[in-house]
């Protein structure tokens, strides 16, 4: 069944395609000061933002604070969103990752967090069960694409994106020069882009 659904998704689908089509419209109406549209946008997308933020921060209270900052920033900057430059989902999720990472870097609890998550967590990253078919498909598609990377590329990309570690932290952790990490991150992302059929 999953395979059938998978084949329905265009190979070169935009990230926004897996989400309700109206996310961009809701953001457009938000830009006009429509609080109700913003509320709907929140209803549709806050679980994505919160899921990602919590994955990075682990701590529930901090994740709520950062999620709040993100949505207030969406409200404040909605007029600045340019849909010709990317989907609403891309805009919000890119901002979300950035804000979560900002919090990690600014937080004293970084060291505590280091003890809670480690490489072994990443192994189970793709075992968790998702609720909906759409999400499951995306989840599996990305999971499969990640499997196409070399072990070293996958490790670096996963530590950076899901762990929120800087490339110098990754270098320290893996005991390799920072230039090597940069190369793995870039090569890994290019491989993922090609596997996932992302085009601009």
């Amino acid at each position: 069944m999953l395979e059938l659904v998978t084949t329905d998704l265009p190979k070169d689908s935009d990230p926004g395609d897996v989400l309700p089509a109206s996310l961009g419209d809701l953001l457009g109406r938000t830009a006009e000061g429509d609080e109700r549209a913003f509320g709907e946008l929140y209803d549709q997308f806050s679980n994505r933002v919160f899921g990602l933020v919590r994955r990075l921060l682990k701590d529930a209270a901090q994740s709520e604070e950062v999620t709040q900052e993100i949505f207030l920033e969406v409200w404040q900057n909605a007029k600045r969103y340019d849909q010709t430059k990317g989907s609403a989902a891309t805009w919000i999720l890119t901002m979300s990752h950035r804000r979560a990472v900002d919090r990690i870097r600014s937080s004293q609890s970084t060291r505590d967090r280091d003890q809670k998550i480690g490489l072994r967590d990443l192994e189970t990253e793709y075992d968790s069960v998702s609720e909906s078919v759409e999400i499951r498909v995306e989840h599996e598609r990305v999971g499969q694409a990640l499997q196409r990377l070399t072990e070293l590329q996958r490790q670096a990309v996963t530590l950076a994106y899901y762990g929120g570690y800087s490339h110098s932290e990754v270098a320290e952790m893996l005991k390799v020069p920072i230039g090597t990490v940069k190369t793995r991150l870039r090569d890994g992302m290019i491989r993922l882009r090609d596997e996932l059929g992302v085009t601009s």
């Binding site: 404040q76 990752h97 598609r141 999971g143 991150l185 996932l196």
Partner: protein, 266 residues
């Protein structure tokens, strides 16, 4: 145009938010120079978003939505072409050393993809933070200069703490002062509106005043015209009263004049 490998080498780190602030700045300067590099970054950003969409969604607690919705009316939406210099000016004269719980300098630059002019981005991001909370706290606050990003970041941290509180009082010599604080963080900020300008040999000084009436200095500042943001130095203890006095330039060890405003945080 220089498309050397060196320039492209950072694109993975950049889209994964794995650079520190200075590396980002350097990379963004390269980004401004090269359309080819921008294309690569756009594609890799979309790829990173797919990594994000693969994370199982988690529904936040319902109270979060209520908190957010309740704040909207206080937050003005920025026009697409808003520039920091068009906002109400504020001068922050006293650079505050960031406490251990303070955030690192704001890493709030938006992506080149949506905001093309790197020159204005740093200043704009500080203004954005301050404006967001300035809106919430009834002051239109903007910040200028690089030394203010710590202030803006600290204010953002206080304002987004789960236990943030605020209280406003009028200042006996004119204007109003709003105290924003978080007991959890032990930090506070004063937002002054229309404070009287002082002669050069005088300064405003903030104080933490405990229940026994003991005052501990919390930093010096001057009126920045229409609005003044001052993140207080030192640590606030729950229940402290925050007072402001006018002191000789350079500040005093303890207050030498009667407070012009006192705001209880209890």
């Amino acid at each position: 145009m220089n498309n050397s490998d060196k320039n492209f080498a950072g694109s993975g780190s950049y889209v994964l938010d794995a650079m520190d602030a200075s590396e980002r700045e350097e990379f963004e300067a390269q980004l401004a120079e090269s359309q080819e590099l921008r294309n690569e970054v756009t594609e890799l950003t979309d790829t990173a978003v797919l990594l994000g969409l693969a994370v199982p969604p988690v529904t936040p607690p319902p109270a979060l939505k209520q908190n957010i919705m309740a704040r909207l009316s206080g937050i003005p939406q920025l026009a697409p072409d808003d520039e920091p210099e068009r906002l109400a000016p504020v001068t922050v004269l006293h650079a505050v050393p960031a406490g251990p719980e303070a955030a690192t300098p704001a890493q709030t630059r938006a992506r080149m993809r949506w905001y093309r002019r790197p020159g204005v981005i740093v200043a704009a991001s500080a203004a954005v933070i301050a404006l967001a909370f300035g809106g919430v706290y009834g002051a239109s606050v903007a910040l200028q200069g690089s030394s203010t990003s710590q202030q803006a970041t600290a204010l953002a941290a206080i304002s987004s703490a789960s236990d943030v509180q605020r209280a406003e009082a009028s200042v006996s010599t004119g204007g109003t002062a709003t105290l924003v604080w978080s007991n959890k963080l032990g930090r506070s900020a004063l937002i002054g509106k229309n404070l009287k300008a002082l002669p050069g040999d005088k300064t405003y000084e903030a104080w933490y005043i405990d229940s026994a009436g003991q005052a501990v200095g919390a930093g010096l500042f001057e009126s920045g015209g229409k609005s003044t943001l001052q993140v207080l130095t030192g640590r606030m203890t729950a229940g402290d009263t925050i007072g402001v006095t006018v002191e000789p330039a350079g500040g005093s060890k303890s207050p030498t004049t009667k407070p012009i405003v006192a705001i209880a945080s209890a």
